[in-house]
Protein backbone atom coordinates (compact mmCIF):
# COMPACT_ATOMS: atom_id res chain seq x y z
CA UNK A 1 0.00 0.00 0.00
CA UNK A 2 2.68 2.42 1.06
CA UNK A 3 4.88 1.45 -1.86
CA UNK A 4 2.08 1.95 -4.33
CA UNK A 5 1.46 5.47 -3.10
CA UNK A 6 5.13 6.35 -3.25
CA UNK A 7 5.24 5.02 -6.75
CA UNK A 8 2.32 7.11 -7.86
CA UNK A 9 3.71 10.36 -6.44
CA UNK A 10 6.97 9.55 -8.22
CA UNK A 11 4.98 8.85 -11.32
CA UNK A 12 3.14 12.13 -11.05
CA UNK A 13 6.42 13.99 -10.63
CA UNK A 14 7.80 12.27 -13.72
CA UNK A 15 4.65 13.24 -15.64
CA UNK A 16 5.25 16.84 -14.65
CA UNK A 17 8.89 16.74 -15.77
CA UNK A 18 7.88 15.23 -19.12
CA UNK A 19 5.21 17.87 -19.57
CA UNK A 20 7.81 20.61 -19.01
CA UNK A 21 10.20 18.93 -21.45
CA UNK A 22 7.46 18.76 -24.07
CA UNK A 23 6.56 22.42 -23.53
CA UNK A 24 10.19 23.49 -23.89
CA UNK A 25 10.44 21.47 -27.11
CA UNK A 26 7.41 23.16 -28.70
CA UNK A 27 8.06 26.66 -27.34
CA UNK A 28 10.36 27.70 -30.23
CA UNK A 29 7.70 26.70 -32.77
CA UNK A 30 4.90 28.44 -30.90
CA UNK A 31 7.03 31.59 -30.71
CA UNK A 32 7.79 31.27 -34.43
CA UNK A 33 4.15 30.99 -35.45
CA UNK A 34 2.79 33.60 -33.05
CA UNK A 35 5.48 36.15 -33.96
CA UNK A 36 4.83 35.67 -37.66
CA UNK A 37 1.09 36.25 -37.05
CA UNK A 38 1.73 39.44 -35.06
CA UNK A 39 1.52 42.97 -36.29
CA UNK A 40 5.05 43.83 -37.53
CA UNK A 41 5.29 46.55 -34.87
CA UNK A 42 4.41 44.16 -31.99
CA UNK A 43 6.56 41.21 -32.98
CA UNK A 44 9.55 40.40 -30.78
CA UNK A 45 8.31 42.56 -27.94
CA UNK A 46 9.41 41.44 -24.48
CA UNK A 47 7.98 39.67 -22.56
CA UNK A 48 7.29 37.41 -25.56
CA UNK A 49 3.75 37.46 -26.89
CA UNK A 50 2.57 33.87 -27.05
CA UNK A 51 -0.83 34.74 -28.44
CA UNK A 52 -0.73 37.46 -31.11
CA UNK A 53 -3.11 40.33 -30.53
CA UNK A 54 -4.14 41.77 -32.92
CA UNK A 55 -3.72 39.01 -35.47
CA UNK A 56 -2.09 40.15 -38.66
CA UNK A 57 -1.26 38.44 -41.95
CA UNK A 58 0.85 41.36 -43.16
CA UNK A 59 4.14 39.47 -42.69
CA UNK A 60 2.97 36.65 -44.93
CA UNK A 61 1.92 39.13 -47.60
CA UNK A 62 5.42 40.60 -47.53
CA UNK A 63 7.22 37.31 -48.22
CA UNK A 64 6.66 37.14 -52.01
CA UNK A 65 8.06 40.66 -52.39
CA UNK A 66 11.41 39.47 -51.06
CA UNK A 67 11.80 36.01 -52.60
CA UNK A 68 9.83 34.19 -55.34
CA UNK A 69 8.28 32.00 -52.66
CA UNK A 70 5.64 30.34 -54.84
CA UNK A 71 8.18 29.38 -57.48
CA UNK A 72 10.53 28.02 -54.79
CA UNK A 73 7.75 25.95 -53.23
CA UNK A 74 6.89 24.56 -56.66
CA UNK A 75 10.57 23.71 -57.27
CA UNK A 76 10.75 21.92 -53.92
CA UNK A 77 7.61 19.97 -54.72
CA UNK A 78 8.81 18.99 -58.22
CA UNK A 79 12.26 17.93 -57.03
CA UNK A 80 10.94 15.95 -54.05
CA UNK A 81 8.23 14.23 -56.10
CA UNK A 82 10.50 13.28 -58.99
CA UNK A 83 13.22 12.10 -56.57
CA UNK A 84 10.76 9.97 -54.61
CA UNK A 85 8.84 8.39 -57.48
CA UNK A 86 11.94 7.96 -59.64
CA UNK A 87 14.15 6.46 -56.95
CA UNK A 88 11.42 4.07 -55.82
CA UNK A 89 10.93 2.88 -59.41
CA UNK A 90 14.66 2.33 -59.97
CA UNK A 91 14.99 0.63 -56.57
CA UNK A 92 12.00 -1.67 -56.98
CA UNK A 93 13.35 -3.01 -60.29
CA UNK A 94 16.85 -3.57 -58.90
CA UNK A 95 15.56 -5.10 -55.66
CA UNK A 96 13.46 -7.59 -57.64
CA UNK A 97 16.47 -8.64 -59.70
CA UNK A 98 18.65 -9.03 -56.60
CA UNK A 99 15.94 -10.91 -54.71
CA UNK A 100 14.40 -13.14 -57.38
CA UNK A 101 16.54 -13.49 -60.50
CA UNK A 102 19.71 -15.54 -60.83
CA UNK A 103 22.31 -14.05 -63.12
CA UNK A 104 26.06 -13.90 -63.11
CA UNK A 105 27.30 -11.12 -60.82
CA UNK A 106 24.08 -10.78 -58.81
CA UNK A 107 25.75 -11.03 -55.42
CA UNK A 108 28.94 -9.15 -56.35
CA UNK A 109 27.04 -6.16 -57.72
CA UNK A 110 24.68 -6.12 -54.73
CA UNK A 111 27.50 -6.19 -52.17
CA UNK A 112 29.42 -3.58 -54.17
CA UNK A 113 26.46 -1.21 -54.07
CA UNK A 114 25.88 -1.92 -50.41
CA UNK A 115 29.43 -1.03 -49.46
CA UNK A 116 28.85 2.41 -51.01
CA UNK A 117 26.43 3.19 -48.17
CA UNK A 118 29.52 4.42 -46.31
CA UNK A 119 30.41 6.99 -48.99
CA UNK A 120 29.48 10.45 -47.72
CA UNK A 121 27.94 12.95 -50.13
CA UNK A 122 30.84 15.33 -49.52
CA UNK A 123 33.19 12.93 -51.29
CA UNK A 124 31.16 12.65 -54.47
CA UNK A 125 29.79 16.18 -54.73
CA UNK A 126 32.86 17.82 -56.32
CA UNK A 127 33.10 15.28 -59.19
CA UNK A 128 29.32 15.43 -59.67
CA UNK A 129 29.57 19.21 -59.83
CA UNK A 130 32.28 18.90 -62.50
CA UNK A 131 30.13 16.39 -64.41
CA UNK A 132 27.06 18.65 -64.27
CA UNK A 133 29.09 21.64 -65.37
CA UNK A 134 30.19 19.69 -68.44
CA UNK A 135 26.62 18.54 -69.11
CA UNK A 136 25.46 22.13 -68.64
CA UNK A 137 22.83 21.27 -66.02
CA UNK A 138 24.26 23.37 -63.17
CA UNK A 139 21.58 25.78 -61.91
CA UNK A 140 18.72 23.58 -63.11
CA UNK A 141 16.33 21.38 -61.13
CA UNK A 142 17.75 18.34 -62.97
CA UNK A 143 20.96 18.72 -60.96
CA UNK A 144 18.89 18.24 -57.81
CA UNK A 145 16.75 15.20 -58.65
CA UNK A 146 18.99 13.25 -61.02
CA UNK A 147 21.59 12.16 -58.40
CA UNK A 148 18.74 11.35 -55.98
CA UNK A 149 17.44 8.59 -58.28
CA UNK A 150 20.09 6.16 -56.99
CA UNK A 151 19.21 5.21 -53.42
CA UNK A 152 21.29 2.24 -52.32
CA UNK A 153 19.56 2.01 -48.97
CA UNK A 154 16.15 1.73 -50.67
CA UNK A 155 17.44 -1.09 -52.90
CA UNK A 156 18.80 -2.93 -49.86
CA UNK A 157 15.67 -2.37 -47.80
CA UNK A 158 13.31 -3.50 -50.59
CA UNK A 159 15.42 -6.56 -51.38
CA UNK A 160 15.17 -7.62 -47.73
CA UNK A 161 11.43 -7.01 -47.84
CA UNK A 162 10.96 -8.98 -51.08
CA UNK A 163 12.98 -11.84 -49.57
CA UNK A 164 10.43 -12.08 -46.78
CA UNK A 165 7.57 -12.59 -49.27
CA UNK A 166 7.03 -16.32 -50.01
CA UNK A 167 8.28 -17.42 -53.42
CA UNK A 168 5.30 -19.76 -53.81
CA UNK A 169 3.31 -16.69 -54.89
CA UNK A 170 5.69 -16.05 -57.81
CA UNK A 171 5.76 -19.72 -58.73
CA UNK A 172 1.98 -19.90 -58.89
CA UNK A 173 1.90 -16.82 -61.11
CA UNK A 174 4.67 -18.22 -63.33
CA UNK A 175 2.64 -21.38 -63.87
CA UNK A 176 -0.25 -19.18 -64.92
CA UNK A 177 2.07 -17.65 -67.49
CA UNK A 178 2.95 -14.38 -65.75
CA UNK A 179 6.18 -12.60 -66.63
CA UNK A 180 8.62 -10.91 -64.28
CA UNK A 181 7.15 -7.43 -64.71
CA UNK A 182 3.71 -8.78 -63.87
CA UNK A 183 4.99 -10.63 -60.78
CA UNK A 184 6.86 -7.55 -59.60
CA UNK A 185 4.15 -4.95 -60.11
CA UNK A 186 1.07 -7.10 -59.50
CA UNK A 187 2.26 -9.30 -56.63
CA UNK A 188 5.37 -7.99 -54.84
CA UNK A 189 4.75 -4.23 -55.02
CA UNK A 190 1.16 -4.43 -53.69
CA UNK A 191 2.42 -6.64 -50.84
CA UNK A 192 5.19 -4.18 -49.95
CA UNK A 193 3.01 -1.22 -48.96
CA UNK A 194 4.60 -0.57 -45.54
CA UNK A 195 8.15 -0.71 -46.91
CA UNK A 196 7.34 1.51 -49.89
CA UNK A 197 5.49 4.11 -47.84
CA UNK A 198 8.31 4.24 -45.27
CA UNK A 199 10.86 4.78 -48.05
CA UNK A 200 8.63 7.33 -49.77
CA UNK A 201 8.30 9.38 -46.57
CA UNK A 202 12.05 9.26 -45.89
CA UNK A 203 13.02 10.12 -49.47
CA UNK A 204 10.51 12.93 -49.84
CA UNK A 205 11.46 14.42 -46.50
CA UNK A 206 15.20 14.23 -47.24
CA UNK A 207 14.70 15.94 -50.60
CA UNK A 208 12.29 18.55 -49.26
CA UNK A 209 14.77 19.51 -46.52
CA UNK A 210 17.98 19.22 -48.53
CA UNK A 211 20.20 22.27 -48.25
CA UNK A 212 23.67 21.05 -49.24
CA UNK A 213 22.83 20.00 -52.83
CA UNK A 214 20.94 23.20 -53.77
CA UNK A 215 23.67 25.31 -52.15
CA UNK A 216 26.25 23.73 -54.46
CA UNK A 217 24.24 23.47 -57.68
CA UNK A 218 21.77 26.37 -57.72
CA UNK A 219 22.51 30.06 -58.03
CA UNK A 220 19.39 31.77 -59.49
CA UNK A 221 16.56 32.52 -57.05
CA UNK A 222 13.93 31.20 -59.48
CA UNK A 223 15.63 27.77 -59.49
CA UNK A 224 16.07 27.53 -55.73
CA UNK A 225 14.19 25.19 -53.44
CA UNK A 226 12.69 26.42 -50.17
CA UNK A 227 15.54 25.71 -47.72
CA UNK A 228 18.07 27.60 -49.83
CA UNK A 229 15.56 30.35 -50.60
CA UNK A 230 14.88 30.84 -46.89
CA UNK A 231 18.54 31.38 -46.17
CA UNK A 232 18.90 33.98 -48.94
CA UNK A 233 16.22 35.98 -47.12
CA UNK A 234 18.59 36.89 -44.31
CA UNK A 235 21.66 37.44 -46.48
CA UNK A 236 20.60 39.65 -49.36
CA UNK A 237 20.68 43.45 -49.26
CA UNK A 238 21.21 44.06 -45.59
CA UNK A 239 18.85 41.29 -44.55
CA UNK A 240 15.07 41.23 -44.53
CA UNK A 241 12.93 42.24 -41.54
CA UNK A 242 12.99 39.42 -38.99
CA UNK A 243 9.19 39.11 -38.88
CA UNK A 244 9.04 38.45 -42.61
CA UNK A 245 11.78 35.83 -42.25
CA UNK A 246 9.63 34.29 -39.52
CA UNK A 247 6.58 34.29 -41.76
CA UNK A 248 8.60 32.54 -44.48
CA UNK A 249 9.90 29.92 -42.02
CA UNK A 250 6.32 29.36 -40.84
CA UNK A 251 5.17 28.83 -44.43
CA UNK A 252 7.88 26.16 -44.81
CA UNK A 253 7.25 24.44 -41.46
CA UNK A 254 3.44 24.51 -41.36
CA UNK A 255 2.70 22.07 -44.23
CA UNK A 256 5.15 19.58 -42.70
CA UNK A 257 3.48 19.99 -39.31
CA UNK A 258 0.01 19.43 -40.74
CA UNK A 259 1.13 16.34 -42.68
CA UNK A 260 2.87 15.05 -39.58
CA UNK A 261 -0.19 15.49 -37.36
CA UNK A 262 -2.32 13.70 -39.96
CA UNK A 263 0.04 10.78 -40.60
CA UNK A 264 2.01 10.69 -37.36
CA UNK A 265 2.09 6.93 -37.05
CA UNK A 266 3.38 6.47 -40.59
CA UNK A 267 6.13 9.04 -40.01
CA UNK A 268 7.34 7.59 -36.74
CA UNK A 269 7.20 4.01 -38.02
CA UNK A 270 9.16 4.91 -41.14
CA UNK A 271 11.92 6.23 -38.91
CA UNK A 272 11.79 3.31 -36.51
CA UNK A 273 11.86 0.63 -39.22
CA UNK A 274 14.03 2.21 -41.86
CA UNK A 275 15.76 4.71 -39.62
CA UNK A 276 19.02 5.14 -41.46
CA UNK A 277 19.53 8.47 -43.08
CA UNK A 278 22.02 9.21 -45.84
Amino acid sequence: MKMKRRLSTGSLLLDLVLLIVAIIMVAPLVWLISSSLSDPADAFSLPPTWIPNPLSLQNFKDVPGLIPFGQMALNSLVVATVSTVGSLFVSVLAAYAFSRLSFRGNRVIFVGMLSALMVPVQLTIIPVFVLFRNLDVVDTLTALWLPALINVFAIFFLRQYFNSIPRELDDAATIDGAGHLWILFRILVPLSGPALSALAILTFEASWNNYFGPLIFISSPENMTLPLGLVTLQGGQGGSPAVVVFAAITLVVLPVLILFLLFQRAFVESIATAGIRG
Binding site: R100, Q122, L123, I126, V245, F267, V268
Partner: protein, 314 residues
Amino acid sequence: MTAASAPQVLAAGEQQPAKPTSVHHKRQALYGYAFISPAVVLFVAFIAGPMVFAIGLSFVAWDLLTPSQFVGLDNFARLVNDPLFGKAFGTTFVFAFASVVTHIVGGLLLALAANRVMTRALSYFLRTAVFFPFLISWAAVALLWKYILDPTFGLVAYYLSKIGITAPSWFSDPSWSLPAIVGIDFWHTIGFTFVILLAGLQTVPSTLVEAARTDGANTWQVFWHVTLPMMSPTVFFATVITFIGAFQIFEPMQIITGGGPDNSTMSIVMYLYQNGFQSFQVGYASAIAIVVFAVIMGVTILQFCFSRRWVHEQ
Protein backbone atom coordinates in the same frame (compact mmCIF):
# COMPACT_ATOMS: atom_id res chain seq x y z
CA MET B 1 21.11 -9.73 -40.72
CA THR B 2 22.33 -9.42 -44.30
CA ALA B 3 25.04 -11.96 -43.84
CA ALA B 4 22.68 -14.42 -42.19
CA SER B 5 19.81 -14.22 -44.67
CA ALA B 6 21.63 -13.82 -47.96
CA PRO B 7 23.04 -17.36 -48.28
CA GLN B 8 19.64 -18.86 -47.55
CA VAL B 9 18.05 -16.81 -50.25
CA LEU B 10 20.71 -17.72 -52.75
CA ALA B 11 20.36 -21.38 -51.84
CA ALA B 12 16.62 -21.16 -52.35
CA GLY B 13 17.16 -19.38 -55.63
CA GLU B 14 19.41 -22.13 -56.90
CA GLN B 15 16.93 -24.82 -56.00
CA GLN B 16 13.97 -23.06 -57.50
CA PRO B 17 14.34 -23.88 -61.23
CA ALA B 18 14.05 -27.64 -60.79
CA LYS B 19 15.72 -28.48 -64.08
CA PRO B 20 16.45 -25.17 -65.69
CA THR B 21 16.63 -25.25 -69.43
CA SER B 22 19.32 -23.00 -70.81
CA VAL B 23 16.65 -20.88 -72.49
CA HIS B 24 14.93 -20.31 -69.16
CA HIS B 25 18.25 -19.43 -67.57
CA LYS B 26 19.21 -16.98 -70.28
CA ARG B 27 15.82 -15.31 -70.13
CA GLN B 28 16.11 -14.84 -66.39
CA ALA B 29 19.62 -13.42 -66.67
CA LEU B 30 18.43 -11.06 -69.40
CA TYR B 31 15.66 -9.75 -67.16
CA GLY B 32 18.13 -9.52 -64.28
CA TYR B 33 20.51 -7.29 -66.22
CA ALA B 34 17.66 -5.21 -67.63
CA PHE B 35 16.18 -4.65 -64.16
CA ILE B 36 19.43 -3.62 -62.52
CA SER B 37 20.68 -1.52 -65.42
CA PRO B 38 19.06 1.81 -64.41
CA ALA B 39 20.41 1.41 -60.87
CA VAL B 40 23.86 0.37 -62.11
CA VAL B 41 24.14 3.26 -64.58
CA LEU B 42 23.09 5.78 -61.92
CA PHE B 43 25.36 4.13 -59.35
CA VAL B 44 28.38 4.41 -61.63
CA ALA B 45 27.52 7.98 -62.66
CA PHE B 46 26.79 9.40 -59.21
CA ILE B 47 28.55 7.22 -56.62
CA ALA B 48 31.26 4.84 -57.85
CA GLY B 49 32.58 7.03 -60.67
CA PRO B 50 32.69 10.25 -58.60
CA MET B 51 34.35 8.36 -55.77
CA VAL B 52 37.20 7.21 -58.00
CA PHE B 53 37.40 10.66 -59.57
CA ALA B 54 37.56 12.28 -56.13
CA ILE B 55 40.48 10.06 -55.14
CA GLY B 56 42.21 11.11 -58.36
CA LEU B 57 41.45 14.78 -57.66
CA SER B 58 43.17 14.56 -54.29
CA PHE B 59 46.49 14.15 -56.14
CA VAL B 60 46.12 17.26 -58.28
CA ALA B 61 45.96 21.00 -57.89
CA TRP B 62 42.99 22.39 -59.80
CA ASP B 63 40.87 25.54 -59.69
CA LEU B 64 38.16 24.23 -62.10
CA LEU B 65 39.31 26.73 -64.78
CA THR B 66 42.98 26.30 -65.68
CA PRO B 67 44.38 22.82 -66.48
CA SER B 68 44.98 20.63 -63.45
CA GLN B 69 48.46 19.79 -62.23
CA PHE B 70 49.61 16.51 -60.72
CA VAL B 71 51.09 17.24 -57.29
CA GLY B 72 51.43 13.77 -55.79
CA LEU B 73 50.81 13.71 -52.07
CA ASP B 74 51.16 17.49 -51.64
CA ASN B 75 47.49 17.95 -50.72
CA PHE B 76 47.78 15.42 -47.91
CA ALA B 77 51.08 16.90 -46.73
CA ARG B 78 49.34 20.28 -46.65
CA LEU B 79 46.49 18.81 -44.57
CA VAL B 80 48.93 17.60 -41.93
CA ASN B 81 50.57 21.02 -41.71
CA ASP B 82 47.43 23.14 -41.97
CA PRO B 83 46.63 24.45 -38.47
CA LEU B 84 43.11 25.43 -39.53
CA PHE B 85 42.39 21.90 -40.75
CA GLY B 86 43.74 20.56 -37.46
CA LYS B 87 41.47 22.92 -35.58
CA ALA B 88 38.44 21.98 -37.71
CA PHE B 89 39.20 18.28 -37.20
CA GLY B 90 39.41 18.75 -33.42
CA THR B 91 36.28 20.93 -33.30
CA THR B 92 34.33 18.36 -35.30
CA PHE B 93 35.37 15.56 -32.94
CA VAL B 94 34.43 17.65 -29.89
CA PHE B 95 31.08 18.44 -31.49
CA ALA B 96 30.46 14.79 -32.40
CA PHE B 97 31.41 13.61 -28.92
CA ALA B 98 29.12 16.19 -27.27
CA SER B 99 26.36 15.31 -29.69
CA VAL B 100 26.62 11.57 -28.95
CA VAL B 101 26.68 12.06 -25.17
CA THR B 102 23.75 14.48 -25.09
CA HIS B 103 21.65 12.47 -27.52
CA ILE B 104 22.23 9.08 -25.91
CA VAL B 105 21.85 10.24 -22.31
CA GLY B 106 18.90 12.52 -23.13
CA GLY B 107 17.31 9.93 -25.39
CA LEU B 108 17.64 7.15 -22.81
CA LEU B 109 16.18 9.31 -20.04
CA LEU B 110 13.26 10.33 -22.23
CA ALA B 111 12.64 6.79 -23.48
CA LEU B 112 12.74 5.35 -19.96
CA ALA B 113 10.42 8.05 -18.67
CA ALA B 114 8.02 7.64 -21.58
CA ASN B 115 7.93 3.83 -21.53
CA ARG B 116 5.34 3.44 -18.77
CA VAL B 117 1.67 4.00 -18.17
CA MET B 118 0.75 7.61 -18.92
CA THR B 119 -2.41 9.43 -19.82
CA ARG B 120 -2.97 9.25 -23.56
CA ALA B 121 -2.92 13.01 -23.90
CA LEU B 122 0.47 13.40 -22.23
CA SER B 123 1.95 10.50 -24.18
CA TYR B 124 0.73 11.96 -27.48
CA PHE B 125 1.88 15.49 -26.65
CA LEU B 126 5.32 14.29 -25.53
CA ARG B 127 5.97 12.12 -28.59
CA THR B 128 4.75 14.79 -30.99
CA ALA B 129 6.70 17.59 -29.31
CA VAL B 130 9.95 15.64 -29.11
CA PHE B 131 9.81 14.09 -32.56
CA PHE B 132 8.49 16.88 -34.76
CA PRO B 133 11.59 19.16 -34.90
CA PHE B 134 13.42 16.26 -36.57
CA LEU B 135 11.24 16.76 -39.67
CA ILE B 136 12.09 20.44 -40.13
CA SER B 137 14.86 21.37 -42.54
CA TRP B 138 18.17 22.51 -41.10
CA ALA B 139 17.75 25.81 -42.94
CA ALA B 140 14.55 26.65 -41.04
CA VAL B 141 15.94 25.35 -37.73
CA ALA B 142 19.16 27.35 -38.02
CA LEU B 143 17.37 30.59 -38.94
CA LEU B 144 14.80 30.19 -36.17
CA TRP B 145 17.42 29.52 -33.49
CA LYS B 146 19.54 32.40 -34.63
CA TYR B 147 16.67 34.61 -33.47
CA ILE B 148 15.83 32.55 -30.37
CA LEU B 149 19.42 32.99 -29.17
CA ASP B 150 19.60 36.65 -30.10
CA PRO B 151 21.07 38.50 -27.09
CA THR B 152 18.58 41.40 -27.24
CA PHE B 153 15.16 40.10 -28.27
CA GLY B 154 15.65 36.33 -28.12
CA LEU B 155 13.62 34.00 -25.93
CA VAL B 156 16.58 32.41 -24.19
CA ALA B 157 18.20 35.68 -23.15
CA TYR B 158 14.85 36.93 -21.80
CA TYR B 159 14.06 33.88 -19.68
CA LEU B 160 17.65 33.58 -18.45
CA SER B 161 17.53 37.21 -17.31
CA LYS B 162 14.34 36.37 -15.39
CA ILE B 163 16.32 33.96 -13.23
CA GLY B 164 19.20 36.39 -12.89
CA ILE B 165 21.55 35.06 -15.54
CA THR B 166 22.99 37.31 -18.22
CA ALA B 167 23.04 35.28 -21.41
CA PRO B 168 26.27 35.35 -23.39
CA SER B 169 26.03 36.62 -26.94
CA TRP B 170 26.27 33.08 -28.20
CA PHE B 171 27.48 33.53 -31.72
CA SER B 172 30.05 36.25 -31.14
CA ASP B 173 31.70 34.55 -28.18
CA PRO B 174 34.16 31.82 -29.29
CA SER B 175 33.64 29.84 -26.09
CA TRP B 176 29.81 29.74 -26.42
CA SER B 177 29.30 29.34 -30.18
CA LEU B 178 29.98 25.60 -30.34
CA PRO B 179 27.92 24.74 -27.22
CA ALA B 180 25.07 26.76 -28.74
CA ILE B 181 25.19 24.65 -31.90
CA VAL B 182 25.33 21.45 -29.80
CA GLY B 183 22.11 22.66 -28.13
CA ILE B 184 20.39 23.51 -31.42
CA ASP B 185 21.38 20.15 -32.89
CA PHE B 186 19.99 18.44 -29.78
CA TRP B 187 16.62 20.16 -30.19
CA HIS B 188 16.58 19.30 -33.89
CA THR B 189 17.45 15.60 -33.78
CA ILE B 190 16.72 14.23 -30.29
CA GLY B 191 13.36 12.94 -31.62
CA PHE B 192 15.18 10.49 -33.88
CA THR B 193 17.30 9.10 -31.02
CA PHE B 194 14.21 8.97 -28.82
CA VAL B 195 12.20 6.92 -31.33
CA ILE B 196 15.06 4.50 -31.97
CA LEU B 197 15.82 4.00 -28.26
CA LEU B 198 12.14 3.69 -27.32
CA ALA B 199 11.74 0.98 -29.98
CA GLY B 200 14.77 -0.82 -28.51
CA LEU B 201 13.47 -0.45 -24.98
CA GLN B 202 10.15 -1.99 -25.94
CA THR B 203 11.90 -5.16 -27.13
CA VAL B 204 13.21 -5.84 -23.59
CA PRO B 205 10.97 -8.62 -22.21
CA SER B 206 8.99 -7.34 -19.23
CA THR B 207 9.27 -10.79 -17.61
CA LEU B 208 13.01 -10.22 -17.17
CA VAL B 209 12.44 -6.88 -15.50
CA GLU B 210 9.76 -8.35 -13.23
CA ALA B 211 12.00 -11.29 -12.32
CA ALA B 212 14.79 -8.91 -11.31
CA ARG B 213 12.32 -6.84 -9.28
CA THR B 214 11.09 -9.95 -7.48
CA ASP B 215 14.69 -10.81 -6.63
CA GLY B 216 14.91 -7.44 -4.88
CA ALA B 217 16.77 -5.35 -7.45
CA ASN B 218 16.14 -1.59 -7.21
CA THR B 219 15.31 0.64 -10.17
CA TRP B 220 18.94 1.53 -10.85
CA GLN B 221 20.06 -2.11 -10.62
CA VAL B 222 17.29 -3.20 -12.99
CA PHE B 223 18.34 -0.54 -15.48
CA TRP B 224 22.07 -1.21 -15.22
CA HIS B 225 22.02 -5.02 -15.13
CA VAL B 226 18.93 -5.92 -17.15
CA THR B 227 17.49 -3.17 -19.34
CA LEU B 228 20.70 -1.57 -20.63
CA PRO B 229 22.48 -4.85 -21.52
CA MET B 230 19.33 -6.11 -23.26
CA MET B 231 19.06 -2.98 -25.40
CA SER B 232 22.80 -2.47 -25.91
CA PRO B 233 22.67 -3.24 -29.67
CA THR B 234 20.12 -0.43 -30.09
CA VAL B 235 22.17 1.98 -27.98
CA PHE B 236 25.26 1.11 -29.99
CA PHE B 237 23.42 1.62 -33.28
CA ALA B 238 22.08 4.99 -32.11
CA THR B 239 25.59 5.98 -31.02
CA VAL B 240 27.11 5.17 -34.39
CA ILE B 241 24.36 6.87 -36.37
CA THR B 242 24.55 9.98 -34.19
CA PHE B 243 28.33 10.10 -34.49
CA ILE B 244 28.32 9.76 -38.28
CA GLY B 245 25.64 12.44 -38.62
CA ALA B 246 27.40 14.80 -36.21
CA PHE B 247 30.75 14.30 -37.89
CA GLN B 248 29.25 15.73 -41.10
CA ILE B 249 27.73 18.78 -39.37
CA PHE B 250 27.58 21.69 -41.78
CA GLU B 251 24.31 23.61 -42.06
CA PRO B 252 24.22 25.52 -38.74
CA MET B 253 27.81 26.61 -39.28
CA GLN B 254 27.16 27.68 -42.84
CA ILE B 255 23.89 29.46 -42.03
CA ILE B 256 24.53 31.00 -38.61
CA THR B 257 28.22 31.44 -37.88
CA GLY B 258 30.12 30.98 -41.14
CA GLY B 259 32.62 28.96 -39.06
CA GLY B 260 33.34 31.83 -36.69
CA PRO B 261 33.88 33.58 -34.42
CA ASP B 262 37.62 33.00 -34.51
CA ASN B 263 37.02 29.68 -36.36
CA SER B 264 35.46 28.26 -33.18
CA THR B 265 32.69 26.58 -35.17
CA MET B 266 34.73 25.57 -38.22
CA SER B 267 33.71 21.97 -38.89
CA ILE B 268 35.48 19.70 -41.35
CA VAL B 269 32.66 19.84 -43.90
CA MET B 270 32.44 23.62 -43.53
CA TYR B 271 36.18 23.80 -44.25
CA LEU B 272 35.75 21.43 -47.19
CA TYR B 273 32.99 23.64 -48.59
CA GLN B 274 35.07 26.80 -48.23
CA ASN B 275 38.06 25.22 -49.97
CA GLY B 276 36.11 23.45 -52.70
CA PHE B 277 33.36 25.89 -53.56
CA GLN B 278 34.50 29.28 -52.34
CA SER B 279 38.23 29.36 -53.05
CA PHE B 280 37.98 26.57 -55.68
CA GLN B 281 40.92 24.51 -54.46
CA VAL B 282 39.27 21.36 -55.71
CA GLY B 283 42.22 19.03 -55.12
CA TYR B 284 42.69 20.13 -51.54
CA ALA B 285 38.95 19.89 -50.84
CA SER B 286 38.97 16.32 -52.23
CA ALA B 287 41.77 15.39 -49.84
CA ILE B 288 39.62 16.72 -46.96
CA ALA B 289 36.66 14.70 -48.27
CA ILE B 290 38.80 11.56 -48.21
CA VAL B 291 39.56 12.17 -44.52
CA VAL B 292 35.80 12.46 -43.84
CA PHE B 293 35.23 9.25 -45.79
CA ALA B 294 38.01 7.44 -43.90
CA VAL B 295 36.56 8.37 -40.50
CA ILE B 296 33.04 7.28 -41.51
CA MET B 297 34.34 4.04 -43.00
CA GLY B 298 36.35 3.33 -39.85
CA VAL B 299 33.33 3.84 -37.60
CA THR B 300 31.10 1.73 -39.87
CA ILE B 301 33.56 -1.16 -39.92
CA LEU B 302 33.87 -0.92 -36.14
CA GLN B 303 30.08 -1.08 -35.88
CA PHE B 304 29.95 -4.11 -38.16
CA CYS B 305 32.53 -6.03 -36.08
CA PHE B 306 30.94 -5.13 -32.75
CA SER B 307 27.32 -5.76 -33.71
CA ARG B 308 28.35 -9.15 -35.05
CA ARG B 309 29.80 -10.02 -31.67
CA TRP B 310 26.63 -8.93 -29.97
CA VAL B 311 24.41 -10.94 -32.25
CA HIS B 312 26.43 -14.05 -31.46
CA GLU B 313 26.28 -13.42 -27.74
CA GLN B 314 22.52 -13.28 -27.63
